[in-house]
Symmetry: C2
Subunit: 395 residues, 2 copies
């Protein structure tokens, strides 16, 4: 009983390590510790050095959201392939290795993101205020729940992600405004909290006083599914993004059910002045339609690379002003903020330009932000960071 | 405006697919659809056929929790490597490919599990009642939240996973018993809900009437960390499992803070008769110590492959009965259930045998279950399924 503490710890660690390391066959499940170096290694100069041990490979490159991708890697005498990429802009990057034609996640990187059926390794290059918001910091954290609600319209139990801000559980008298944040085609209720880094962005912007403490509801916008792939009785199928389509406007029509659920289960400020809706791509289209369909519901609307003027009738931009009446009705009691953002290279740019012409013709005020880049998460994370500080400023 | 609905949907799908599929460089993030076949393909006969396109590889095998692993794969004329493995027992399997010495996740499988720093692809071979409980079904689902609480003892905000059963949000008068479910070394607050399939197991066993509706709290048992890797200000570091150690019993001493948080923030039945604690490996050690340290707290104790008689003083099994006094005190008001389970091949088997001798010598009653297998998740999932129906039967 008189073990010296340090040696006792070493003994304990050794005993358990024998199981975890010494004999892979008896390890817990997917094995233990890596001995093959780190990848990627980021430098203060914005460099990232990628490496992978592939002694028998003939050609290895790093591929993905990397400038100049694919970037060829070089082999050293021991079979370690590497490349240093300089001057990466601060950003969240997803990438993978192409090893003789096989798409391979970085075996040295434990962090992955999924987009539809594809996995990629990810890392964050720090270095500016914006990217800093994508990383976790020592600030009060909000809670994140996967919540099931029943949708009579869609005739199923469905899942959504709900962020409640730090302090929500501490003071049971405070009520909060709500942002409804919608994903794009191929996404699901996990997209904003995973690829979008919404939880970190919310924790950080709220802690910094840049945004009001708010509840953020991230529902599943695919009318044809109940929840993210793997979370339903459909099993571990290969996602194909096709369930995303909501051609009959059913998701939009079901939206008041979500708002009613949230208002009855969370301490919300349940009025227009304290509700925002925003989404990317298809979710921008949803936000556009829902805010138009329910003009008394949202005082803040964010259209991020939005599929506006797109619905079950196809793209209606060229038709005879089919939205004039609905938009006029919506803007009779105009929202406090109607915020449109899109990248110059976005494939929906022209559609958004056409939509802005419609708004201009109707004399409707809106805020327009045009950025570099295309139809991509680096823009949508950035738009969320720009959008949040503008919310719930009416009172 | 007179589009035919079907052709309009096709048009919409085509437009959006142009972005997602036609031009990978403009896809959302990690690219779109797979065209390289499915893997694994499971048959009703218990077979699983694994495949990967690796036209330039010299040797490919499937490795992991697969019988006979590594299993060599064969190349066809087009560069598609495959192997059919027959007669797999119903189970959740994790696996990966070894392609010329590089550990590669299955590029056709979107589902991964993480254990410490290692990722593996996963699939479920259905076919018996137990494995069926690991899959999602059309039953009422409980909600799962990542919840931050403050620990004065550990001097940090810390994260836990909280499962609330289906119906918890619907009827605000019902109070529930609570199971505290603890992970092992190298795990974290995500382990039971990911590798352990605890959410599916709970949904299914509760829906089937096999288990009482209960709240299940899965805290982070690593005194040295606040939350799972990647969720804290420590950033996206490479996990090494070493933060797991809790040599000074600090996690155990902080446990009443978790219970107090749960009892004050959830509709619990806040007494011994309605509290259970169970854990695997290190978490079994925690459950063992905590139930001994706080004898009035838990009426149901589950020790799964538990690191019993292990603490900051090292393994105490050979010492002069250091736990006699504490055990005698605990069993003066004995728990309703004291359940010990371990596999014949577990490296902690001898320690558990020694512990049972201690209990026998003290005249303490317990339930002992000995299974095949070793220190592995397939046992721990199975133990959870066996443990749950025995809980909260006193009233």
């Amino acid at each position: 009983m008189k073990h010296h503490i340090l040696s006792a710890v070493a003994t304990t660690a050794t005993i358990l390590s024998m199981c975890l390391c010494g004999n892979p066959a008896s390890a817990q499940e997917a094995l233990g510790y890596r001995t093959m170096g780190n990848s990627p290694v980021t430098g203060d100069d914005g460099s990232a050095t990628f490496g992978v041990y592939a002694p028998n490979a003939g050609r290895v490159s790093v591929t993905g959201q990397i400038p100049g991708s694919p970037v060829e890697m070089s082999r050293d005498a021991n079979g370690w392939w590497s490349v240093k990429i300089d001057s990466l802009k601060p950003e969240l990057y997803s990438y993978w290795f192409d090893i003789d034609g096989v798409r391979t996640l970085d075996p040295a990187n434990a962090y992955v993101v999924r987009d539809i059926a594809s996995l990629a390794s990810m890392f964050i290059m720090p270095g500016n205020r914006q990217t800093d918001l994508y990383s976790a910091h020592e600030v009060p954290h909000g809670n994140v729940a996967k919540v099931w609600y029943h949708s009579p319209t869609l005739a199923k139990d469905r899942r959504m992600t709900v962020y409640t801000p730090a302090g929500y559980d501490a003071d049971e008298s405070t009520r909060y405004p709500v942002l409804y944040l919608l994903h794009g085609m191929g996404g699901d209720e996990n997209a904003w909290s995973e690829l979008g880094r919404a939880v970190q962005i919310l924790d950080n912007t709220i802690a910094a006083g840049m945004a009001e403490p708010m509840i953020v509801v991230m529902p599943n916008g695919n009318a044809g599914e109940a929840a993210a792939p793997g979370e339903t009785a459909e099993g571990l199928y290969t996602p194909d993004g096709q369930r995303s389509l909501s051609p009959e406007g059913l998701f939009e029509s079901s939206f008041p059910e979500i708002v009613a659920y949230v208002d009855s289960h969370y301490r919300t400020k349940a009025d227009k002045a304290n509700r925002a809706i925003a989404g990317l791509s298809m979710g921008g289209g949803h936000s556009w339609r829902i805010s138009m369909q329910y003009p008394d519901m949202f005082d803040y609307v964010g259209l991020f690379s939005a599929a506006v003027m797109w619905n079950g009738g196809g793209v209606d931009g060229q038709n005879a002003n089919p939205y004039d009446q609905a938009l006029t009705r919506q803007f009779a009691t105009a929202p406090q903020l109607y915020w449109i953002a899109i990248g110059k290279d976005d494939f929906l740019y022209a559609l958004n330009a056409s939509y802005r012409e419609t708004l201009d013709r109707l004399g409707i005020s809106y805020t327009y932000v045009e950025t570099d880049g295309g139809h991509e998460w680096r823009n949508w994370r950035s738009y969320l960071v720009r959008f949040l500080p503008q919310l719930f400023k009416k009172e």
